[in-house]
Symmetry: C2
């Protein structure tokens, strides 16, 4: 099985889904190296486009994503990673899922989830929004 | 709410999730224009990177994706589209979800879903894999 990294410029989008609840938690990108590290360690490792380097989810917060199952799509250019998420949430803004805002047809966004942790206690004050 | 289309070169990844079952059905990409069409019509419209044009899901098969809720992530660079999917499946290979293969740590892929329709009857013989 060859994953097609070329369509997104050397990356594949990786959807992170909570295996127990089915909730979509976040979307990251993986390079061949981060996919290999994910498979080797059993915990999700992404490629950070803003920092231009591998990024192990949870390396500072402890909120690692333990891989329970990986799926690949028909065109082999997207991954679905079903995980058990350690800790109270994956989002650096303090929510269980990064998709905590509903987008209305008029373009307005509304927060529809409860905060599950205080990001400044996990990441330190300099990292909070 | 400004969606950040620049990080993926004018596109945002859009995760399609079955609102009822929570299953992730596919991943597509949207441009500002396809997002606007999705919001205007209430049915998912993507940008096809291979054909380089807008692509309304279901335009040939009738398997449209009726948008029930849209979510946007913390960085505003990914969308989660919760849908009611018309028809027996979204995948052009005849499955309910495009993520019908499990990816093993050794890189092998195994089909873990049942076919729900015969693609050659929906798309015609020339479109089947």
């Amino acid at each position: 099985m060859e994953i097609d990294f070329q369509k997104s410029g050397g990356l594949v989008p990786a959807i992170i889904q909570d295996q127990r609840t089915g909730d979509v938690l976040m979307l990251g990108f993986m390079t061949p190296e981060s996919l290999a590290e994910t498979q080797r360690t059993g915990e999700a490792v992404f490629f950070s486009r803003s920092r231009n380097k591998l990024w192990k989810k949870g390396e500072s917060s402890g909120h690692v994503l333990r891989v329970r199952e990986m799926r690949v799509d028909c065109d082999a250019d997207a991954l679905l990673v079903r995980v058990e998420a350690a800790g109270p949430g994956v989002c650096h803004e303090g929510y269980r899922s990064c998709f905590f805002r509903k987008l209305a047809p008029d373009g307005n966004a509304e927060i529809v989830a409860e905060r599950t942790f205080a990001p400044e206690k996990v990441y330190g004050p300099e990292k909070t929004p």
